[in-house]
Each structure stands twice: as C-alpha cells, then as structure tokens.
C-alpha cells in the first residue's frame, strides 16, 4: 500500500462515507437481544481513562444487581464523542444511553432523538424524588424530560493560592472585576513568564455570567441576548489587557494544550467549571483553590448550576432497562462513592451523603455550599449552542493572537452565530 491516493479516489472515499450513512439511515436499527433473554444496552460517554476506570466499576456493580441486563460501553474525547454520536445517530443506531450536557439538550431534543424519560418516571422505573436543589428537573425542556443529571457544577475561579497571598489579595464573595484586575496586575508584574490570569475572553460561559450580572444573558429563547456593541466592549477590554501583558499570551497558551494555563504554571487564575479542579490539581504541584466569580455590583455573580446528564435514545428498544440503569446510576449510594466529583457534585442526597469528599473534591463541595444562596436559574441554551461556543472560543483566539481586529471578530462571530442558530 502506498500513502498516496489519487484525488478522485479520495473524494470517492468521502462520498462513500456519505452514502454509507445514507444506507444506514434507511433502516437497520439492529436488535440487541442475545438469545438467553438477557438484554444488552449500549452506554457511551466522553472523558478520559480516569473516568473510564470509575465508570467500569459502577457498571460491574449494576450488572451484579441486574443480572438480566448487560451494559456495553464506549468512550471518546469530548470532540470525537459528538462526531461519533452524530454518525451513529444518523445511521439509526445511536447508543441506548449516553452522557449529555445542557448545551446539547435542545439540539437533539428538536430532532426527536432523545427519549422523554417522564413516561419511565410515571411507570416507576426512574425515581427523581431524591435530587438535590431541584436538579431532578434540570433536563426538562418543553415539558419533556430529556436528561437526568449525574453531577452538578457551577462556574468558578481556580487560583494559585501562593501567588494571590504574595499579592495580598483575598478573593471572597462580592469582590468586583476591578478587584480582580488589580490582583492580576500585581501578580503579573512580579515575575517573568508568569501572568496574573489566563486569557479567558473566549469562554462563553464566563461572558454569560458577566452579561447576567447586568440583567442580560448570552442566549435568549431564540438567539443571542446581547448586541455587537456589548461584545466589542468585552473583547476590547480583553484585547487591551493582553496587549498590556497582563494575561497569558495566546501563543504560550496554545503550546501547553491540552493542559490548562494554570496547571502548566503560566497563570495564577483561570475561570472554569468547579469540577475541573480535580483534573487541574492532578496536573500540577502548585496549591490551587476555588474563588467566587467577581461581580459588577458587589453582589450578583450570575451563577447557576449546570450538570452533566444521562440521556436515552428515542430509538432504544429497551426504554425500561435504560431507565432502570439511569436510576441506579443517580440513586445508588455505592455509585456515588465510586464516582466522587468526577462529573461534578453528586446529584442525589443518597449519593451526596454516602461519599466523603477528600482533597480537591472536598474543596469543590465546600465551594458549591458557599455559593448555594447566590445561584440563579439557568437560561435556555438553544439548538446550535455547541457550534456557537466553539466559534466564540476560536474567533476570540485570533483576537488574542492579534491576527484579527476586535471589530472584524465581532462581525464574524455574529455572522457565524446566526447561521448556527438558524436565525
């Protein structure tokens, strides 16, 4: 075999892929019963090996208690996961149950790909009574229950304790963006190759919080909840700070991927989901802690609880078994002990109480407890959220790199968002 292919052949291969999809779509769902009356369900999720090890343990437990059900698993990295899922779903052969997140609920809900789990709740196969903080209904969209949370997380600032101490800054609830900027400036001035904060201007969820602090939101029911002028200010400020050398330069940040800038020792502070602390601490020797989101008015953070969920395919042949599986995964205390806060703080009281968090998990639990009273309801994430998020991150990337002007970038983002949201 040679590594070269003729042009025509390559295109044909591409076409072949397309039609293979077409052929599959035309109908071969494929039964999954093995002969001995045992039901097999397929379960896929995104993540890495550490999560896989934990999940496999929980499945062993499930299969022991439900000898009539066999669970086949499959996992990918986040980006690859959705590619594979789309391909399988288009072929009429999606996994029976899979990891999902709020950003994707509407996208697949609208295409009738997700099973409405409410019927299974009514049938008594899935119990939602024990969920903390109203999480049980977090996956309900337009009256349909499209996902059940397996963990809850909220946004936070992961920071380098020593760097902040040296700068004499204590981040606490109610601190403002000005306080934050001041800290960043102090820390950044002190050392070479170490900056006060990561360059987070492209993080959609952070900008969402900032907008919510002003009574707006990133998304409304049918599109974007902010104007071009709003975004020009946000990206303009970030661009200015980048040029002043206060934030990690884009080139350096790009180089250390997939590590975060904080765990790579480039930056003292980074906005992200709180459950990421588990990963970050495993990547670095620095002492990291969680701080509340800075505010505009000294009070409102705009924060809400989000979650990773389990959703079921509308085409599954075993809705009852799938519901029993989800029920086990969210309610069984042993599962909670095994998973810890790998996917966020445990969703049900039974699991939450069964697990005694240690190390970073304890910090996450502490943090979520401390922000409980400031949490607000989540705003809608329309279909196309994932594409908009990727565009926001990537287009800001070229602003941070200095290759695109803020005005051009904003125009490009609105253009792409319009296509993605179909408005």
């Amino acid at each position: 075999m040679s590594s070269r292919r003729s042009g025509v052949k390559g295109l044909r291969a591409m076409g072949a892929g397309l039609v293979a999809l077409g052929l599959l779509a035309s109908g071969c769902g494929g039964g999954s019963d093995s002969g001995d009356g045992k039901v097999t369900i397929r379960y896929s999720w995104w993540g890495a090996q550490d999560r896989a090890d934990l999940i496999n343990k929980t499945i062993d437990l499930f299969e022991k208690e439900h000898p009539d059900i066999e669970v086949k698993t499959d996992f990918q990295e986040y980006g690859d996961f959705w590619t594979k899922f789309n391909t399988q779903a288009a072929g009429g052969n999606p996994p029976d149950v899979f990891q999902n997140s709020y950003a994707f609920l509407r996208k697949y809900g609208q295409k009738n790909l997700l099973l409405d789990l409410n019927t299974q709740v009514k049938a008594g196969n899935l119990d939602l009574d024990d969920f903390r903080q109203g999480l049980g209904k977090a996956g309900e969209i337009d009256g349909k229950l499209l996902g059940v949370p397996v963990g809850a997380n909220t946004f936070t600032l992961v920071y380098d304790v020593k760097a902040f101490e040296e700068a004499g800054v204590t981040p606490e609830h109610g601190w403002t963006w000005d306080d934050f900027d001041e800290a960043v400036e102090k820390i950044g001035g002190s050392k070479d190759d170490f900056w006060g904060a990561s360059n987070n201007g492209g993080v959609m969820y952070l900008y969402d919080l900032y907008l919510r602090q002003q009574g707006k939101a990133f998304f409304t029911e049918d599109g974007l909840g902010f104007t071009e002028a709003d975004l020009k200010k946000w990206w303009g400020d970030y661009r200015k700070k980048t040029e002043e050398g206060l934030l990690v330069p884009a080139k350096q940040a790009e180089q250390v991927k997939p590590k975060s800038e904080v765990s790579a020792g480039l930056s003292a502070a980074e906005f992200t989901w709180d459950n990421f602390l588990v990963r970050y601490t495993s990547e670095t020797d620095r002492e990291l802690a969680l701080a509340p989101i800075p505010t505009t008015d000294g009070e409102r953070t705009g924060q809400y609880l989000s979650s990773l969920m389990l959703s079921a395919s509308a085409r599954t042949e075993h809705p009852e078994e799938v519901a029993r599986f989800i029920d086990f995964m969210v309610n069984d205390p042993e599962v909670g002990k095994i998973m810890g806060y790998n996917r966020g703080v445990l969703p049900t009281n039974a699991q939450f109480e069964a697990y005694e968090p240690q190390g970073p998990d304890a910090m996450i639990a502490e943090y979520e407890k401390s922000v409980t009273e400031y949490l607000e309801p989540i705003t809608p994430h329309p279909a196309g959220t994932d594409t908009v998020e990727a565009a926001f991150l990537s287009i800001y990337g070229s602003v941070a790199q200095g290759t695109t002007s803020v005005d051009d970038a904003v125009a490009q983002f609105f253009d792409e968002a319009k296509t993605a949201l179909g408005s």
């Binding site: 591409m14 072949a16 980006g79 790009e254 180089q255 250390v256 994932d386 990727a390 290759t403």
Partner: protein, 338 residues
C-alpha cells in the same frame, strides 16, 4: 516454461500444454478437440474473469459510484443527517463564496499546495540523485529515507511532530542556541504553516523512489558524451537529467499536487483537538478537507459539506487539466520508446 509435467498436474492442464505445443493448423483433425470446447473454455474463462472482478465491481457500484451520486444530490440540499434532505438548489455553492472561513480554507490549502509540493519534489529529486550512485549500504539508506512516508500520514507521527515543535521543546531549544528564540511554532499562526510544510516535505520517500527509477533509465552514454564535450555537473543536470526524467517529474508533480490538496490528518494532529472546531491558532491551519469535515460532522451540515467536496473535485480537475495542457511545453517523451 515448464518442460516436464509434474505428477500433480491435472489432465486438463496437460491437454492445454499439449495444445499449446501443437502447430497452428491442426495436422490431423481427428485428434483435435471438438469445435465447441475452445469456445466453451473461453466462455468459462470470461466467467471466471468476471467472478474475480465482481468484488471490485460490487465495491465500485455500492461504495463509490452510488455514494458519489448521493453526495452529488446532497450538495444541492440542506441536510442535517437526521431530518430528510431539503432541496435548496445552488444555495450551498453561493453560500461558499460569502463564507469567510471557506475562503480561509481555500487560501490555506492553496498556500500548502504551492509551497509544500515543489519543496517536497526538489528534496525527493535531490536525495534520489544522491542515492542513484552505487555505494555501500545503499539499501539501508534507501529504506531509511523511504520510511517516513510509510508512516508519515499516521497519527502517531503527527503527535511526534507536535511534540518536537512545541514551546520549549527540542526544536525551539536548539534554535535558541543560535540566538533565535521564537517561543514555539505550533501555537504561532505565522509559523504553524511552515511546521506543517516541513512535515509534508519530510515524507518525500514515495516520489523519491519513483525518481530513482527514472534516473536509472537515463542512458549513461549521454553523460559520457557531454563530459567529453566539457559540460560541467550543473550543465549535465540541466540539459540531460531534467529533460530525460521530465515524464517522471510530471507524474510525481501530478500525484503530489492531488495529494497535497487532500491534506487532513497531519493538520488535524498538529493543530491539536479543537473541541468541535477545526483550524488551529487563528484558523491558520484550516485546510479544506478539515473545514469540510467540521461542517459535515460537527455542525451537521452534510449538504454544505457535500457541496464543498464537489468544489474540491472541480478544483483538482481544473489544476490537473492545466498540468496536462502544460506538459507539451516541458515534458519530453522519447520518440518510439524503447
């Protein structure tokens, strides 16, 4: 040819061999096979031929021709993989021209084709000329130079390449010894493309092998005659080597250009996981096939992706046609052949 019939040969084989030895006009009609046999055997052979061909035929119909037609149809539709395709006429094609990222992908791919292809061929020819002369360990060197192109398209080599060119990795550190501290290659939109080109050029093995074969075909006498006439090395290269191997150059050029148009894996791996969005820093590595893939499988716009695929096919066809047209001017075929 076998002279003795081994014991294992079948009767039929023996008969065939006997028949082959027999002179054309049968001397004694009575011992000739009946008139139908030859035709029957021919038919049987035809049948066998088709039988052996059938996997390929089925393959091309089911996996190539059919999909191509479907993809052609999809190019004129809005298709998100789940709902049935909706006919939109030429909308996908007209959208391309107003899509900034599509233009970016065309630019990136064009730059890659224009820079990587000539460089790769020049290196391949240079190394081929070095390896053409007999020397000790020739076999080893040839395989050593060829190896990268065997593994070159693979993901693992992309990962190694990424590791080499990362910030403060080996390339960056070696260069800083000479006072050049760029602070990384892959993360810098100005330098990510050269990194990709370097990876492509490094995989010069396949065209090199073809060049080697071409160089062997150039008659020694020509060089000897030129030397007698006092031609220097450069002159011999320009006036003998280049024209004599121009058909090989043409062949390599054609294949490499087409190959370059389709660059995918190495760009993907070098630019790292994009979280659903391709392109690397500032979309500086947004190669065409990759943007196509993103539109099709991440953004669920299979109609648009199909339209992009057909535009690529058209583009490659045009470039190929231009190349064929131009070959009259610079490709020299020997009259009559040998």
């Amino acid at each position: 040819m076998r002279t003795e019939t081994p014991a294992s040969a079948t009767a039929e084989e023996e008969r065939g061999a006997e028949q082959a030895r027999r002179p054309a006009p049968p001397a004694t009609p009575s011992t000739a096979p009946p008139p139908g046999t030859a035709r029957r055997r021919a038919r049987r052979e035809t049948l066998a031929g088709y039988l052996f061909l059938s996997p390929w035929c089925v393959g091309i119909l089911l996996l190539t021709l059919g999909p191509m037609l479907v993809s052609l149809y999809l190019a004129f539709t809005d298709y998100n993989l789940f709902d049935s395709p909706r006919w939109v006429g030429l909308e996908n094609f007209s959208e391309m021209f107003s899509d900034d990222r599509w233009w970016q992908s065309v630019r990136v791919t064009a730059v890659f084709v224009l820079v990587a292809t000539p460089l790769k061929l020049a290196v391949a020819l240079g190394v081929a000329m070095l390896l053409a002369r007999p020397r000790k360990g020739q076999g080893f060197y040839r395989s050593a130079f060829y190896a990268p192109s065997l593994i070159g398209a693979s993901v693992s080599v992309g990962i190694v390449w990424r590791a080499l060119f990362q910030d403060e990795a080996i390339v960056d550190r070696s260069l800083s010894l000479f006072g050049w501290s760029g602070g990384g290659w892959i993360g810098d939109p100005d330098w990510s493309m050269p990194t990709l080109v370097a990876l492509s050029v490094w995989q010069f093995g396949a065209p090199m092998v073809i060049f080697l074969a071409g160089l062997k075909q150039v008659p020694r006498e020509l060089y000897e005659a030129a030397e007698v006439d006092g031609a220097g090395a450069w002159r011999r290269f320009r006036s003998i080597t280049l024209p004599m191997i121009s058909p090989v150059i043409f062949f390599n050029l054609l294949l490499e250009i087409i190959h370059s148009f389709q660059i995918f894996t190495s760009a993907l791996v070098i630019a790292g996981p994009g979280g659903g969005r391709a392109g690397g820093p500032g979309d500086s590595l947004l190669v065409y096939t990759w943007y196509l893939y993103e539109q099709g499988f991440a953004n669920l716009r299979m109609g648009y992706a199909s339209a992009m695929a057909w535009m690529l096919l058209a583009g490659i066809a045009v470039v190929t046609a231009v190349l064929f047209w131009s070959q009259r001017r610079w490709v020299h075929y020997e009259e009559g052949g040998r």
